[in-house]
């Protein structure tokens, strides 16, 4: 049978975007080592409720590491200490009995705190809306096998498309840059034959929308370290190359139109 563990938690509490925040010190006792990090917070919330303290709001939904809703800083690390693991998949057996654990919301100016550990990540959606799609209205396109796509191309596209949009890359970055997210979204579509017609327009629009909201990449690589899906830094290099090309190509396309 499993052993039970005790922790000392420091959890960030904040009433709203403009309210001052502070840490709540609370003990999490008798936690099963089978518990996930978020299940531990469930137990803490039950105890807070019993003591007439409002439970902590924290972002979560699927609890299987795919929806990208969850994510907190655990001892200063986005999604905590385990590599390639979202907060909901982090389990307490990775911690030691008696550990002190500090829990904070994503730290980035572009992700303002809504309440407690919940932040607003909507700028990521604005980047997709700027061009993160292939324009094929629903209808009857050609047969799916009409365009051959080499396995390696499909695989690298899928590597990038695996991004869950959690924002850990931004939270981990000293500059709050969103290059890893944006480049993954671009790479997913830009390497596919179907993605070619809009490639340059897409790249310019998404990169420039990203820059409206987020900081600049200085190649720290913290984003990749924090990423629960281990999205590769190479995609950022591809994005930068495509962006330079796009600036030239889009200019010549624009001048042709005149």
């Amino acid at each position: 049978m499993s052993n039970n563990l005790n922790f000392k938690l420091r959890i960030w509490r904040q009433d709203g975007p403009d309210a001052p925040g502070s840490f709540l010190d609370v003990e999490a006792n008798n936690i099963s080592e089978e518990a996930s990090f978020l299940e531990m917070l469930d137990v803490v919330n039950e105890n807070l409720l019993e003591n007439d303290i409002e439970p902590i709001n924290f972002p979560h939904d699927c609890r299987e590491g795919i929806c990208g809703t969850c994510g907190v800083m655990v001892n200063g690390q986005a999604h905590g200490p385990e590599k390639a693991t979202a907060t909901c998949q982090l389990h307490m057996r990775k911690f030691n009995d008696g550990d002190e654990i500090t829990i904070e919301p994503w730290r980035a100016k572009s992700f303002p705190v809504i309440k407690d550990l919940v932040v607003d990540r909507s700028p990521l959606d604005r980047i997709i809306e700027a061009g993160g799609y292939i324009s094929v209205p629903t209808g009857t396109p050609q047969d799916a096998n009409a365009t051959l796509i080499p396995k390696e191309v499909a695989e690298t596209s899928m590597d990038a498309a695996a991004c869950i949009g959690c924002g850990a890359c931004v939270a981990a970055c000293p500059n709050s840059a969103a290059q890893l997210f944006t480049s993954a979204k671009l790479h997913h579509l830009n390497v596919l034959p179907q993605g070619q017609p809009e490639r340059w327009k897409r790249t310019e629009a998404m990169v420039e929308t990203m820059e409206e909201y987020f900081g600049t990449c200085t190649n720290h690589g913290e984003c990749h370290e924090a990423c629960p899906k281990e999205i590769s830094l190479d995609f950022i290099a591809f994005m930068n190359r495509d962006y330079v090309k796009a600036k030239i190509k889009n200019r010549s396309l624009a001048s042709q139109a005149k």
Binding site: T85, S122, V136, L148, P150, K151, A154, L192
Partner: protein
């Protein structure tokens, strides 16, 4: 009584959809911009419908309680999506997919709907590929396939173990393009808490902004619910924590018939619960059954590690009982058999609550790299959750509540019994009968959203040309809004002693026990006494702190639990009335000599559509007879 006119078109099965598309009314392209449509939910069905309707020219307002539409729970579907492409040359066809789906559903679905689903399945793969969904490929560049439970052909398309994610991103991106053009207006972090009708027609919704707590009214010419299933009624399920029955339940209370609520799928391959505070169960894709062999020790008090148990002491119960389908029997059969061997005491793991899913033979045959390529992410996920390495020792799995075949009753146009209110995807009841085959949920969600609703909604809207939407200051909206606001705020005044999660867990235990993998009359009657009792206690003693005027997750949850408390009773009532066994609904009283589900076609070949009769009156049963003109009903056999 409700008039359950299924509107299934006349004519031969294969021509019905074509004929229907020709005969229904259309809205001309220039007039579409004169209509507003509300879509609730942004999973596969909702996002694909919103994108497609906006592309046609309708003004679409989309509502989701998530922070981003991409987070809807379709994203968690792992294994794949079926389509009758016959790319493998293994004798697949539209008719075979249709046949497999009706048979898999144990002959409790509507033939015409299932046939249409099979027809449009091929278009879905084309559409998604064109959108850039990175489906798995062969070395030559062609699309790859795998096989799935309940079928003897390979017709499942997949994107690693993240097919749902990739399909949802495709639909979300198509919708994002329409958000950018302004044809779709996105309302995120918006909880839909009621459906509003006027003169018997759907005219809008009441929404609570989860950030400010403000309740507001929204009107449209038609309302589309794509709000998913109700598996979370069982508390422990594979659904996301926030998946709920509220929108469909509230629609039911406003007059939409609820069909076959007792058809709930218990998925055979999930990770068993580890402890008391478990908040959800994680599914391991059914595709694992392609290569994994399911077994338990023959002995009852086995303490050895799996690898130390010799071959002759292993009970490969599915392979022994069902030689033709083996480990690939449909989900309901696999789940029930797992329960049987665990109940007999063969269970494995510390809590003896699982069976083995063993990859040792597959690894020996194909090499560890091949297995890693096929299932690597699933194996990693398993290890993260259990701390055990499935390359070295077998996985432990056990069934868990997963998918709702039941849902709002809809006609062939996907319209509920409330005119102007549509239900799509898992939220409706129509295509899976009493059991859904693997890789068919994604197919149905996208079929409804991309290829069915965009045509059929015109039939309702065309005659309304020139009609204005009901203004949101109309008394019907004002009354509904006040009711929602006070219903939400009342929870803060209860000042009880237990959390809503506590009561949700208690409710889950009741229906898992009495309305789970096997049901009998005595148990169901017990459930019908215990559910109202726990509901009453919950309403008197739940404790919610904080405010209604800002983000408050406890308050969001208590509303949802309250609706599950009402809904669960209907599950039990439906299960009690259906004295036959079929698919996922196994009545102990109705089984063959070999312990298989025994249908009673003479008395139960119908859809049970329940009609709301008011707060303290049980729902009334309405029946839509099911007729099968193209398939001969047989006792399902997977031997």
């Amino acid at each position: 009584m409700i008039n359950l006119d299924s509107k299934v078109p006349a004519g031969p099965l294969a021509d019905k959809w074509d004929n229907h598309r020709f005969s229904i009314k259309l809205v001309n392209p220039a007039n579409k911009r004169k209509y507003d449509i509300i879509v609730v939910g942004t999973g596969l069905a909702g996002a694909s419908a919103a994108a497609s309707l906006a592309e046609l020219g309708y003004n679409v307002k989309v509502f989701t309680f998530h922070d981003s539409p991409r987070r809807a729970h379709s994203i968690a579907a792992q294994g794949g999506i079926n389509a009758a492409k016959n790319y493998r040359n293994d004798a697949d066809s539209v008719h075979r997919l249709f046949y497999d789906t009706v048979k898999g559903g144990d002959y409790r679905s509507r033939e015409a709907n299932v046939y249409r689903l099979s027809q449009v399945s091929v278009d879905i793969i084309d559409q998604c590929t064109a959108q850039g969904v990175p489906f798995a490929r062969e070395y030559g560049g062609l699309l790859a396939n795998r096989s799935f439970g309940g079928a003897q052909v390979s017709r499942t398309f997949y994107a690693r173990g993240q097919t749902g994610q990739q399909l949802l991103l495709g639909a979300y991106q198509a919708m994002a393009a329409q958000i950018a053009t302004g044809k779709v207006t996105l309302h995120n972090r918006s909880d839909v808490l009621d459906i509003v009708t006027k003169d018997g027609q759907a005219c809008g919704i009441i929404v609570r902004d989860l950030l400010t707590g403000q309740v507001s009214s929204h009107s449209a010419h038609a309302v589309v619910l794509a709000t998913g299933g109700y598996a979370n009624a069982y508390y422990l399920s594979t659904n996301a924590m926030n998946s709920n029955v509220t929108a469909t339940w509230r629609a039911h209370r406003k007059g939409a018939a609820f069909a076959n609520p007792c058809y709930n799928q218990i998925h055979p391959t999930c990770i068993p619960a580890g402890d008391e505070f478990q908040s959800k169960l994680t599914l391991m894709s059914e595709s694992l059954r392609n290569d994994g062999r399911i077994w338990v020790p023959r002995g009852l008090d086995e303490t050895r590690m799996a690898r130390d148990i010799p071959e002759e002491e292993r009970y490969y119960y599915l392979e022994e009982k069902y030689p033709a389908f083996g480990n690939l029997v449909p989900r309901d059969v696999a789940s029930r058999n797992a329960k049987t061997v665990v109940d007999q005491g063969h269970g494995v793991g510390a809590l003896k609550n699982g069976v083995y899913l063993d990859f040792a033979d597959a690894i020996a045959r194909d090499g560890v790299e091949t297995i890693r390529e096929r299932y690597g992410n699933l194996f990693d996920m398993y290890e993260r959750i259990t701390g055990e390495d499935p390359y070295q020792r077998p996985m432990r799995i056990y069934p868990a509540s997963h998918y709702s075949m039941g849902g709002l009753w809809v006609d062939y146009n996907l319209m509920t019994t409330i005119p102007g209110l549509y239900a799509l995807g898992e939220a409706n009841f129509s295509d899976h009968g009493a059991n859904r085959l693997g890789a068919s949920a994604l197919m149905q969600g996208l079929a409804d959203g991309y290829f069915v609703l965009p045509y059929t909604i015109g039939d309702y809207l065309a005659p309304k040309l020139g009609e204005k939407v009901v203004p949101t200051d109309d008394p019907v909206f004002k009354t509904a809004l006040e009711e929602v606001d006070s219903r939400t705020r009342q929870w803060l005044d209860v000042k009880g002693t237990k959390s809503s999660d506590h009561y949700h867990r208690e409710l889950g235990k009741i229906i898992w026990e009495y309305c789970g993998m096997s049901r009998d009359e005595a148990g169901l009657n017990k459930a019908l006494t215990e559910i109202p009792a726990i509901r009453e206690e919950f309403r008197k003693n739940v404790k919610v702190l904080g405010t209604a005027d800002g983000l408050n997750q406890s308050l969001e949850n208590v509303n949802r639990v309250n609706d599950f408390m009402e809904f669960a009773e209907l599950i039990a009532r439906d299960a009690l009335h259906r004295k036959e066994s079929c698919g996922g609904h196994f009545r102990v009283e109705s089984q063959t000599d070999e312990g298989e589900a025994l249908r009673d076609d003479e008395n139960y070949s119908y859809v049970a559509a329940w009609e709301w009769k008011g707060e303290d009156t049980p729902q009334e049963l309405n029946k839509e007879p099911l007729t099968f003109e193209n398939i001969k009903l047989t006792q399902r056999s997977y031997k």
